[in-house]
């Protein structure tokens, strides 16, 4: 049996796609969207706590990126630039839609609260499904100040280095370290009521 090998076309870089987009080639947008939609969505979801709002934030973030493309100087990577825009959009949406109120424990249904309350269960970690854990983590995140939440999400979800987080947020690495420290402290304090950490 004859084997036919075909050379794969080189994958265009972000810069090449942006250059295409700048020339009006919509294919550049589609490829950039496919490349970064998942990452942008996960960051927005962590910041907002639900799929619908996260999709809105991604759309708004990409839309802003498109309309502000001339402002992209290429000093940072497209990825970090997009994450800045998307996380901004997510926090704005969260403020408009009152994420904290929706996610605070005070807003829990009585049954759910009882189910999550460690005093009503023998083993604090047993029986927690992934959805329960996610809800807990969402609430713990919602209890953080915006700056700490955003810093932690960019580091933990987008897996950005301290330097990249500092670049996205326009802050020093020392501030990134400080915010991460306090965010982790608060998350642990919150989650330790239900989960062994």
């Amino acid at each position: 049996m004859a084997v036919i090998t075909a050379a794969c076309p080189p994958v265009p870089t972000d810069e090449q796609l942006l250059a295409r987009l700048a020339r009006g080639d919509r294919a550049g947008l589609e490829e950039l969207f496919r490349r970064y939609r998942g990452l942008a969505y996960r960051v927005a979801h962590r910041l907002l706590g639900n799929e619908a709002d996260a999709l809105d934030a991604v759309q708004e973030g990409f839309a802003k990126a498109l309309t502000h493309l001339p402002g992209f100087q290429g000093r940072s990577t497209f990825k970090t630039w997009l994450l800045r825009v998307v996380s901004n959009a997510a926090l704005d949406l969260g403020r408009q839609r009152g994420r904290r109120e929706a996610l605070s424990l005070d807003g829990c249904a009585a049954g759910e609260r009882e189910r999550l309350d460690p005093r009503t269960r023998d083993d604090p970690t047993a029986g927690l499904e992934r959805a329960d854990l996610r809800r807990l983590l969402d609430r713990a995140l919602a209890a953080l100040p915006d700056a700490q939440r955003r810093t932690f999400v960019l580091h933990a979800e987008a897996e950005l280095s301290y330097r990249e987080v500092a670049e996205v947020l326009g802050i020093s690495i020392g501030t990134v370290m400080s915010r991460l420290y306090y965010a982790r402290q608060k998350l642990r304090a919150y989650l330790s009521r239900w989960v062994k950490l």
Binding site: E15, Y41, A54, Q59, T175
Partner: protein, 229 residues
């Protein structure tokens, strides 16, 4: 991570330990010393391992709760709405790069022209005029600055940048160690960096007494931006 108070040497800060656990110190030659110090400190303080484990447990919890991807149809809807947005007329990074390159070339050309003009003016001046400085008495004005311990030879014409009364010394490294004091101290009292209401005290280091029975000095390192709880 809890805040440690090192009784047997400077303890790494909780932020440094977190950076160590995050792998932020790996592969950075400038952080090698800190890395070794943290590892030695951890060997002497096994109780601190619990904090590092808690950080890793939080990471595992985080990864276990990664949000599921939306359906492909949801992505298609978002992309369709993005397709409706008109593209901005100006190009982005490519155009910016071209503009920057042009600006750099313009700056180089301008600098070269200025240098050529200055050289022409110096070389085309009459010889007598150029010798005035060499023959005449030193011109009144500020003394020539010392260059590597030697005075600039008088034959070299000074390039006037400013006169003595056109500048003011704001600070001088080591000025308090030697005998040179010029004018009055710049500050007549304490230097106010922030007002009391602008600082929230989150955590302090153990008190330090500067000899005798004076009041304790509370301090915090400048490079750590503690003012942000």
């Amino acid at each position: 991570m809890s805040a440690w108070q090192g009784a047997d040497g400077p303890a790494p800060t909780p932020e440094q330990l977190a950076a160590y656990a995050d792998g932020e110190l790996d592969g950075r030659p400038e952080a090698e010393g800190l890395c070794r110090r943290i590892e030695a400190w951890l060997a002497r303080h096994p109780e601190a391992a619990a904090d590092l484990q808690a950080q890793r447990a939080l990471e595992r919890l985080w990864q276990a709760t990664t949000p599921a991807e939306p359906a492909e149809s949801a992505w298609a809807d978002v992309l369709a709405r993005l397709e409706d947005i008109p593209l901005s007329p100006a190009a982005g990074p490519a155009r910016s790069a071209r503009l920057r390159a042009r600006a750099a070339w313009a700056a180089v050309l301008l600098g070269a022209s200025a240098a050529a003009l200055w050289l022409a003016l110096v070389l085309l001046r009459p010889a007598e005029e150029r010798q005035v400085v060499r023959k005449g008495p030193p011109a009144p004005g500020p003394r020539l600055p010392a260059v590597r311990g030697e005075l600039v030879p008088e034959a070299v014409e000074p390039f006037p940048v400013a006169t003595a009364d056109e500048f003011e010394i704001l600070s001088m490294p080591g000025a308090d160690a030697g005998a040179l004091v010029v004018g009055e101290p710049l500050l007549q009292g304490p230097m106010v960096l922030v007002a009391a209401g602008e600082v929230e005290m989150v955590q302090t280091e153990p008190e330090v007494r500067m000899g005798g029975d004076g009041p304790p000095m509370v301090w915090t390192p400048l490079e750590r931006q503690r003012a942000e709880p």
